[in-house]
């Protein structure tokens, strides 16, 4: 290779790669937007009971591990006041007439697991005044108090620090008290060793507070699993605890077995059950909660755009993220085409796969992408049949080539509208009005196919047809990797690298793989001759 070609190729290939490295290392921009994970659409509706004119209900709040966005309260002509004074929120609706309709709260929730590792031993004996309410032991029957004291003697004997005390109480309630939703008082639980989730949380709460440790019951909702989502199962409130250890509230769940840990399947509605007990009781209101996985916005492009613009670099000025969304969508598709041509060049010049027309495979790839693979394949086959059939039928009319080609084209368009009008479901076809455009262009190559059948025989034609399809499928497989689309869209400078690689392929003067097969017999016969 000549020096100048070498230099240009090297620059084309490596400069964009250095730019990528610069983005990652210096500007701290990731190469593709982060996936938006664990996002849930949360919808809660409440129906107040009786003739209420003011109505309060707890609603979720952003906190460590809980990110709440797009939250909306349906208010209409009502006044809504949201009390955010504590680490929880309570919304209060006020209206002139008693509430007739449902009140709703909705939002998008991003949950992350919360894990506290290695909580140190805690010997504190006094707490800030605000925590007093979390130390108050509720009134109990004297016999229950006696039973709890006995328990304490048995399980907590000799324990000094508060962290260990809490851990022992947790083990006891989590392991020894069986879950039984029918048992709803502390008294019964102490006698039977069974209890509802709320009672277990209450018993844990009492035992911790009796040891002089601030504790509270937390109202929460568990995210539905896949089956529950499919069954559209409504979610209910569940209960867990939080204990104040080493100067922070530590989550504990005696029902699901989490100590100092809150999984990303749990959303806290309110941190203090005592405060909202009356509000969420059935006497005050009925509620339904619906939670679904949010499927939209697979990549968090908005955040990524902000990051890029904030970097205030060269890239922020030329980012495709500045474009309006429809243009962005178009470029996401288009930017993979050069990668497709890379595949095409490799296939044709290095492997030696024959194709119809040079860019037919790429057009087919686009067609598959804009509709769907199965549909695209079947539709293409029909177009091929039309192309071949046309030659036999229209041959009798002695038409000139251009009008005849135009007739095939028109036939294909007729086929499209017939299908689109009669099919039950056309949702897979991109709403983009260019969805069918690639196949229309492909049509113009169909005539070559029928000529090839007459000139070179059916076998060669089939080989070429298969080659075309194979490269189209290879190209299409690029589109099945969403990361690749995002990668090219976020870093379009890579197009220069693609050009560098294309120069390398263009400079290749060695044999094609197909020539190994083509000249195989020559080699064999030459050897036979030499052996003689």
């Amino acid at each position: 290779m000549r020096k100048i070609t070498f230099a240009i190729t090297t620059i084309l290939i490596f400069v964009p790669l250095f730019m990528l490295a610069y983005k990652v290392q210096v500007l701290n921009i990731s190469l593709i937007p982060q996936m938006v994970e664990d996002v849930w659409n949360f919808h809660m509706s409440m129906r107040p009971k009786g003739e209420q004119r003011t109505f309060s209900y707890p609603i979720p709040k952003s906190a460590p591990g809980i990110k709440l966005t797009d939250d909306k309260i349906k208010s209409r002509d009502m006044e809504v006041f949201i009390d955010e004074s504590s680490d929880s929120r309570i919304a209060t609706w006020t209206a002139k007439e008693p509430f007739k309709r449902k009140l709703t709260f909705s939002g998008r929730i991003d949950l992350k697991p919360l894990v506290y590792k290695n909580i140190p031993k805690d010997f504190s004996d006094s707490y800030p005044k605000g925590l007093d309410i979390f130390l108050k032991v509720p009134d109990l029957l004297p016999e229950d108090v006696a039973a709890i004291s006995l328990l304490e003697n048995a399980i907590l004997e000799g324990t000094e620090d508060k962290t260990s005390l809490v851990r022992k109480i947790y083990y006891y309630v989590e392991e020894e008290i069986q879950r039984n939703t029918a048992i709803k008082t502390i008294h019964e639980t102490l006698n039977t060793g069974k209890g509802s989730p709320l009672i277990k949380a209450k018993l844990f709460n009492i035992m911790v507070r009796r040891k002089g440790i601030p504790s509270r019951i937390v109202v929460q909702v568990r995210m539905p699993n896949v089956q529950q989502q499919l069954a559209k199962k409504k979610s209910r409130f569940t209960f867990a605890n939080e204990v104040f250890l080493s100067n922070r509230w530590v989550p504990i769940d005696t029902n699901r077995g989490y100590f100092a840990e809150r999984p990303d399947s749990v959303l806290v509605i309110h941190h203090n059950y005592d405060e909202v007990e009356k509000l969420i009781s059935r006497r005050n209101a009925s509620y339904t909660i619906q939670i679904e996985r949010a499927k939209i916005n697979k990549y968090n492009k908005t955040e990524f755009k902000k990051t890029i613009l904030r970097s205030d670099s060269f890239f922020s000025k030329f980012s495709l993220y500045r474009l309006p969304l429809p243009l962005q969508a178009m470029f996401t598709t288009i930017l993979l085409i050069p990668l497709g041509t890379l595949v095409l060049s490799l296939a044709r010049n290095i492997i030696g796969i024959p194709t119809f027309g040079i860019f037919t495979p790429i057009l087919l790839t686009l067609f598959f992408k804009e509709t769907s693979f199965g549909f695209g394949l079947v539709f293409f086959m029909i177009v091929v049949l039309i192309g071949i059939g046309e030659r036999y039928v229209l041959d009798k009319f002695y038409l000139l080539a251009v009008p005849r080609l135009s007739i095939i084209l028109t036939l294909v368009i007729l086929l499209m509208i017939t299908y689109t009008v009669t099919a039950n479901d056309v949702s897979f076809i991109s709403q983009n009005h260019l969805a069918f455009f690639p196949i229309v262009i492909v049509t113009t190559n169909i005539e070559r196919l029928s000529i090839m059948i007459t000139e070179e025989g059916i076998i060669n034609t089939l080989k070429t047809l298969l080659g075309t399809l194979m490269i189209a499928i290879l190209g299409f497989s690029l589109y099945t990797i969403p990361e690749l689309e995002m990668f090219m869209f976020s870093n379009p400078e890579l197009l220069f690298t693609v050009m560098g690689l294309l120069i390398l392929i263009g400079k290749y003067k060695g044999y094609r793989l197909s020539e190994f097969i083509r000249f195989r017999d020559l080699v064999r016969q030459k050897k036979k001759l030499e052996a003689k």
């Binding site: 010049n349 030696g352 002695y398 000139l400 080539a401 251009v402 005539e447 000529i451 000139e455 070179e456 025989g457 060669n460 400079k507 290749y508 003067k509 060695g510 044999y511 094609r512 020539e515 190994f516 083509r518 000249f519 195989r520 017999d521 020559l522 080699v523 016969q525 030459k526 001759l529």
Partner: protein, 317 residues
């Protein structure tokens, strides 16, 4: 490496042909001289190089109108696209059947494969040519009607149907390798290797057939006539090579394929030239092009006359 055997035999691959020879030695501006057979014929006439006589050159649909009057004076002819390749779009009419229907002359055409065409079918085919159906890049084209060439008697036992043609690869004016393409039944009487014609490699020293293949398989006898192909020796061998060599001076392209036919009356004449000659000639000859091309590149004397270049090739290959 799986390609090491191809390397050792000096087989020329497509990428190498394009990158090292065609792109380097063939100046794009001379391409029309070989791609457009009308231009080739004009050039050949000026250079005194023998080609088939052009009866008619049809450039537009209007000239199709009274085609039958123009054709009535001939006994046979060939229709071909000026910008065609690989023999696509060529129709050979070996007999014109002249009748009179209701006092009007009525022509029917017998093709070389004995199929009969009427004038409408003929015009349809020509308009297909004009609209670019057979042209290299699909652009609109010109149809040529020229004299039909007769088969040289030497090929009587070696050919089925059509006329065999001789392909000579010419590099920088030196004939490099050659073969004769013998039509068979399965090639529909056409000298097209794709369709199953025989490719018979020719010894550059004397024009003897040294090997023959059909598609990649070595054959000893012609499948239709049963004649042993290796017995064939082409007459006019030095003239054939000199004619091929002259084409380099005529069109100025460094790497071409020259297609030559032997006529019973005029000897060897040029049928057409090709700026992107195929690689199958290596299979027909059971040897690679690269060593010969490199020998010319490195050792051949410059500024020789066509006759001397042909002599150099006969001596060296």
């Amino acid at each position: 490496m799986i390609f090491s055997e191809l390397h050792e035999l000096g087989i020329l691959g497509i990428n190498n042909r394009v990158g090292r020879y065609i792109l380097r030695y063939n100046n794009r501006k001379f391409y029309p001289l070989v791609d457009n057979k009308v231009l080739t014929a004009e050039r050949a006439l000026a250079w005194g190089i023998a080609m088939p006589d052009n009866y008619l050159v049809i450039e537009n649909y209007g000239s199709l109108k009274n085609l039958h009057f123009k054709l009535a004076q001939y006994d046979s002819f060939v229709i071909k696209p000026a910008n065609g390749s690989q023999g696509n779009g060529i129709i050979v009419i070996k007999e014109i059947i002249k009748e009179e229907v209701n006092g009007e002359p009525h022509l029917m055409f017998r093709r070389s494969n004995d199929k009969i065409m009427n004038i409408e079918e003929l015009k349809h085919h020509i308009s297909g040519i004009l609209s670019g159906l057979y042209s290299l890049a699909g652009q609109s084209d010109i149809a040529i009607i020229q004299s039909k060439i007769d088969k040289h008697p030497i090929f009587d036992d070696y050919s089925f149907g059509g006329i065999p043609d001789i392909r000579v690869i010419v590099f920088e004016g030196f004939p490099v390798m050659s073969m004769v393409r013998l039509p068979t039944k399965s090639s529909d009487g056409r000298a097209n290797l794709h369709q199953g014609a025989i490719g018979a490699g020719l010894d550059m020293k004397n024009g003897w057939v040294n090997n023959a293949v059909i598609r990649n398989q070595v054959v000893d006898v012609h499948p239709d006539t049963g004649h042993k192909i290796k017995g064939l020796k082409l007459p006019f061998w030095p003239e054939i090579l000199e004619l091929a060599s002259q084409c380099f001076d005529m069109v100025g392209l460094g790497y071409i394929g020259v297609d030559i036919v032997l006529t019973p009356d005029r000897g060897p004449i040029i049928l057409e030239l090709n700026a992107r000659p195929g690689l199958a000639i290596q299979i027909a000859n059971l040897s690679g092009l690269v060593p010969r091309l490199e020998k010319i590149r490195n050792e051949a004397p410059r500024n020789l006359m066509a006759k001397d270049r042909a002599a150099f090739s006969m001596k060296n290959f």
